[in-house]
């Protein structure tokens, strides 16, 4: 049920944004809108991103789904997501992020969330920290290893 929404999430910033939107929607469930319109619908129109609103509308089109429960469960699911911290040498572009996200979805497993950090000192490559594990695949480490071997 939530895969349509969760699959679109790439980074922790996306998760934070979605969390905020879900909270706004939760608070709008029992409100009365302007001119007696549905406040929930108004919020979906005005305060939530288009693709999110569309995905939610699609899910809620099913009459058996309770709005409040859906939003609460979605909030719980968002909390369960564990990001993988990746440190890069430079700020990645959106295209690169999407590429990385697609690659991970295909090569590893879907639903990996990226927490991108930026540290030029690593020169290139990346440093990955996930589930408490730390792995350094940076260019800096490799360069230092080479330098150690050549005994400079």
């Amino acid at each position: 049920m939530y895969s349509e929404l969760l699959d679109q999430l790439m980074t922790v910033d996306d998760v934070e944004k979605l969390k905020n939107e879900v909270e706004i929607l939760r608070s709008a469930v029992f409100k009365l809108g302007k001119k007696n319109e549905d406040a929930f619908e108004q919020t979906l129109k005005n305060d939530v991103r288009t693709w999110v609103a569309e995905a939610i509308r699609k899910i809620l089109a099913d009459q058996t789904v309770d709005k409040q429960k859906f939003l609460q469960d979605l909030s719980e699911e968002l909390k369960k997501l564990k990001p993988v911290q990746i440190t890069l040498a430079s700020q990645p572009s959106q295209a690169l992020l999407e590429k990385m996200h697609d690659w991970l979805n295909v090569q590893v497993h879907p639903g990996i969330l990226l927490d991108i950090q930026y540290e030029p000192a690593i020169l290139g490559g990346m440093v990955i920290a996930a589930d408490g594990k730390y792995h350094d695949f940076s260019l800096r480490k490799k360069t230092l290893e080479v330098l150690e071997k050549t005994n400079i």
Binding site: A129, D131, G132, K133, Y134, D136
Partner: protein, 532 residues
């Protein structure tokens, strides 16, 4: 100590700070962290793992600066250890030293104060099974304080609690004992837990001025330091003591004081959201003191004599921490408020003090003297209520008043004075044999002081006194021997210098000394009955 990047690379595990509550940090990550392990923060601070939850690791911070949320943490895969060496003798180890130089994670470059050679890396909080290495306590520990050496003797390897309200003379007694033992070549380790900087400075100056700093190690944690660091101070002191014990030496360890230690631990555990028990102390408060004090004792190679200090409040001995400590240790010396207010120094209450293994270290003579003295003083205390009837009472009671006051005067001792044990025995014998009859108390004190100085300076006199102290096994023989040595003691030429031209006599009671009675005192005289 290597840096953060090194440990990150070595363990390949990372954690991130989630929450900071004063000295307690909650972090996620570090999947293989274990309790007691040292962790290093990216910004250079040190902490150690207190406990593990499902989602987080609870870390006790040891460094002063505040850590921000999100800071990375690396495991070191080692328990809290410290470098110990003989260079520590004469040093004052403060909290800053504990954090920087002493808590070594690996043998790396030697710092400027501790020689790189001959340093031993030891874990601070261990619970090694040393049961089979213990030996029976047979040797007495001389404190240099008459009332303790006679009535509440301590043995080498014993753990004796010093209990009393604040400002009742506990620290003075401890310093006297340290001076006595340091002069005999014992290594003294003094742990000052959570005291003020002024107090630490005063103690440092004391050790240096008394020229015993070469035999002492002073470990001090300031009250402004991290709670976790203050909590570790007695464990650090015990580790240092164990190092010297393993060299076959006798070590005297003073922990001043464990009630403050318990309070800091309570603070730490309440911050760590532990469920509070009695008096809000955590449930393992007994265990943290027991596992510390059980590391002391008399061993086949070396010994650690522990003198933990405990503070009572308004004389209440039934307090939680106080009773805990009393049950862990091999006895306690109580410093009584009432005695202190009466002007008795040291204010040791021999009736409420206990020594479970001290008496077995004494010679038969010393044991008999202790018992006789205690019985006599108990009788003397009982008859105090009849003091205002003094002249109307019978001769034996009047004599008890007379001798009781002389003995109380004898047991009083200045905080700067140290009395060697053979001298204590002989001077007691002199008082018991009623030397210096009719002399006022102040004059007798001068005589005693002169004789003690003479013992320390004159080796011939010292040998004679030692012979008298060791010759007899029974009190009666000892007193007879003392009476024969009147020229040596009461009429010693050295006393002429302090004898005034015409000493004002104290009106003596007329009776001759009778045997000490252990019966209850006579009933008070009923005047109405008497009139009939």
């Amino acid at each position: 100590m290597k840096d953060f990047a090194y440990y990150l690379d070595k363990t390949q595990e990372i954690g991130f700070v989630d929450q900071v509550f004063h000295s307690i940090i909650y972090a996620h990550g570090l999947p293989h962290a274990h309790p007691g392990e040292v962790v290093l923060f990216e910004t250079g601070e040190i902490g150690y793992v207190l406990s593990l939850n499902d989602q987080s690791v609870e870390i006790s911070l040891l460094s002063p600066p505040v850590v921000d949320v999100g800071v990375r943490i690396a495991r070191t895969n080692s328990y809290l250890s410290m470098k110990v060496s003989d260079d520590y003798l004469g040093m004052t180890i403060t909290s800053a030293d504990l954090e920087k130089n002493t808590f070594a994670l690996e043998e790396t470059e030697a710092d400027g104060r501790v020689d790189g050679k001959n340093t031993d890396l030891r874990e601070v909080d261990t619970s090694k099974n040393t049961f089979t290495l213990h030996k029976k306590i047979t040797e007495p520990l001389e404190t240099g304080v008459k009332v303790v050496d006679l009535l509440v003797p301590i043995g080498v390897g014993q753990r004796e609690l010093l209990l009393g309200d604040r400002k009742t003379g506990k620290s003075n007694f401890v310093l006297q004992t340290i001076r006595t033992q340091a002069q005999k070549g014992c290594i003294c380790v003094y742990a000052s837990i959570g005291k003020s900087q002024l107090e630490i400075q005063r103690l440092t100056q004391f050790f240096q001025s008394e020229q015993i700093s070469k035999q002492t190690v002073f470990i001090a944690s300031n009250s402004a330091q991290r709670t976790g660091l203050i909590f570790l101070t007695p464990y650090v002191a015990m580790t240092v003591a164990e190092y010297f014990r393993d060299q076959g030496k006798k070590v005297l360890l003073v922990l001043d004081d464990l009630t403050t230690h318990a309070r800091y631990y309570r603070e730490l555990m309440l911050l760590a959201k532990r469920f509070p028990g009695r008096n809000s102390y955590p449930g393992d408060i007994f265990h943290i003191h027991a596992r510390l004090l059980e590391r002391g004792g008399n061993f086949k190679n070396g010994s650690i004599t522990c003198l933990p200090v405990g503070q009572s409040f308004l004389g209440d001995l039934a307090g939680y921490i106080q009773t805990n400590l009393m049950s862990i240790t091999d006895g306690h010396i109580l410093f009584d408020n009432e005695y202190f207010d009466q002007g008795r120094r040291p204010a040791v209450n021999p009736f409420l003090s206990v020594t479970r293994v001290g008496e077995q270290t004494q010679t038969p003579l010393a044991r008999e003297i202790g018992r006789t003295l205690r019985t006599f003083l108990a009788d003397f205390e009982k008859i105090q209520q009849f003091k205002h009837f003094q002249t109307e009472l019978n001769e034996s009671i009047q004599y008890k008043f007379y001798m009781g006051e002389r003995l109380i005067n004898f047991l009083d001792q200045d905080s700067q004075e140290i009395v060697p044990f053979p001298m204590t025995l002989v001077l007691f014998g002199a008082i018991w044999a009623d030397f210096w009859k009719n002399q006022p108390h102040e004059q007798i004190k001068k005589y005693l002081r002169t004789l003690i100085d003479l013992y320390k300076k004159d080796t011939g006199f010292q040998k004679q006194v030692d012979d008298i102290a060791t010759k007899s096994e029974k009190l009666s023989d000892f007193i007879e021997n003392i009476k024969q040595q009147q020229d040596l003691i009461a009429n010693n030429p050295a006393l002429a210098a302090v004898t005034p031209p015409a000493a004002a006599p104290v009106a003596p009671p007329t009776p001759t000394p009778t045997a000490v009675s252990t019966t209850t005192p006579t009933q008070p005289i009923d005047k109405k009955e008497a009139k009939k």
